[in-house]
């Protein structure tokens, strides 16, 4: 497990770095897919296979395909050479580093709550994570679920409105 965690961590971080450093958005997109896969790996380690599947289906599958589609739709040659200024890089890097340092300091100094829930690894394994998620989704989180559906609907309208050439 430990080993797998480090492997996935390495892949995720490396690919994430590649996403932000690659000049060509298409390359970035492919690295992003890789990153998503690594995250899915994490989910598997954490016994959330359902989420791993969702991650790959929705993110790597749907969203990234959409992204790649859009990149292709736009003129690739005109969008791939958008560089960044040096000072932008320095300031950005600095800020990110500071943010990172702060968050890590918080994490190291802080402590999480003691595990109090009932859904131990064993229980999840016994019932099955999909079933648990499903049960919760349709009882306690029914309203968010419904809202999410409307949200997606609105997003479709939005995408349609933005993408169409004129009214």
């Amino acid at each position: 497990m430990e080993a797998l965690f480090y492997v996935f961590s390495f892949i995720a971080i490396f690919s994430a770095l590649m996403v932000v450093t690659m000049r060509n958005p298409l390359t970035s997109a492919l690295y992003l897919v890789l990153c998503f896969f690594a995250l899915a790996g994490f989910y598997v380690i954490l016994d959330m296979q359902f989420l791993a599947a969702m991650q790959i289906l929705v993110y790597a599958g749907a969203i990234m395909v959409l992204v790649v589609l859009v990149i292709m739709l736009l003129n690739i040659s005109r969008i791939k050479n958008i560089g960044s200024d040096l000072h932008q890089k320095i300031i950005g890097g600095l800020i990110s580093l500071i943010l990172f340092a702060e968050v890590v300091l918080y994490i190291i100094n802080g402590a999480q709550k003691k595990p109090t829930g009932i859904f131990t690894r064993a229980l999840i394994k016994k019932i099955g994570n999909t079933q648990i998620i499903g049960e919760f989704l349709f009882t306690e989180y029914m309203l968010p679920f419904e809202i999410a559906s409307i949200l997606l609907f609105v997003a479709i309208i939005g995408a349609y409105l933005f993408a169409k050439k004129k009214y």
């Binding site: 994490i107 029914m142 309203l143 949200l151 939005g158 004129k166 009214y167």
Partner: protein
Amino acid sequence: MHNMPLIYGMNFLEKSMLSIIPETVIIIFAFMVLFLAFFEKLAKRKNSYYLSLIGIGFSILYVLMLSDRNIYGFYGSVVFNGFEVFLFIAILFSGMFTVLMSKDYMENSGMPAPEYYSLILFGLSAMMFLVSSNNLIMVFLSIEFMSICAYILTGYIKGDTRSTEAALKYFILGAFASAFLLFGAVFIYAATGHLNLYAIHSFLENISYAGSNKAVGGIGIKIYISAGLVMFLVGLAFKMSLFPFHSWTPDAYDGAPTPITNFMATGIKLAAFAIFLRIYSLIYNFNIMNFNDILWLLAVFSMTFGNIAALLSSNIKRLLAYSSIAQAGYILIGIIGGGFYGYSGTLFYLLAYIFMTAGAFAVVVIFENSDIISLDIKRYAGIGYKYPFIAAAMSFFLLSFAGIPLTSGFMGKFYVFSSAVKSGYNWLVLIALLNSAFAAFYYIKIIVKMYMPDKEPASPPLNSSGDNLGIISGAIDDGLMLTIIICLILTLLMGVFPQIFINFANNSADLLWRI
């Protein structure tokens, strides 16, 4: 705090549904408006306009019908009580004003109406969900829902690069802030193990009394919570457009269609403040860490930046945007002041704020001729003589912004300031008062333009196109006039006889306060 009356049982759906009826009504009407688009005959602008108004009206009706209920619906995901009643009505008013303002605007710009109105309604429902959400998932989801509607509406003007640019900026910054909010939620979750706000509240209450008792986590948890709350605050402060998370405000306000600017300035701000107020009263307001310090800074910076930046602004929409940043700072003072008095004051100010803002934007819409120059304050020269009523109303709204007595702005300011003084934030109030003093300059600047032009216009005919001064083509739309009149009456009423509104706000704040 109350015991959480989580409703488990067979008929929980019925009871829960009651808590979201107003939102549901709005959503149903949103779909109805949207479906109008399918029918060539019905897709006239007027129909969707009236349908939206009817929907909002129904929703208000339902809110009023439910006004004495206190419901925790959907396993505590949403709450519906006096607080929500107050804010629902305020939000619905804001939506109503937006719709009323839009008719004229839509006709001028030729945009497709059904989608537009339905998005406004969807946005309204999202705001209402946000206000009543009692769960971090609901908070996040509603914020995103609301924001997505706002992104779409901001970029609604096809072919207008400014509109698209505004949407782009708004979107990227919004998503960025949302990421912070989300990451903050992770930390809160890690520290407390809860997503429900009440549950988090009681957890924090325990540890704040327990001190550094190892059994419940102690000091480490507090650090986690700080990290979580700070990052959560970033997300919320963005929506409230507090400095330094304000940067989207002027650009998005400027580029968006003016009724939508009003929607953002009133509705979104209202919803953001409402949820912040709720979360603040539930979570932030513990002595684990003094969040008031940071809010103090945010308030001071917001006021000062907003006012100073607005000082020389020549574009009326940007000016109002900067002013709204400053106003957010003032509103925050009420929250910092805290207590029953402070919350009530905040709500009162919010209510006052939407009326004056909506009124001001209605005037802006009247004089906006779909070209950029019409937003220049110079364009307002001399309208005081040509359109005495509108100019007088505009002056009144601006004076209200400036906090001159007789206006709701004064009462609101007085209310929040005195609550802050009550809690001992004297410097804050002093700074706020000095801010109001020099802020008066740019409000008055507009009045100067309207009534005291450098060269008095020789009363040009109403429809002469050659004249460079504010000219309205045709008669003023009834919806706009209605908005102005309602806002004017309410601004005056809240300034002179505020007691009923205070009672309303008190009822609403009472429930927050007694948690």
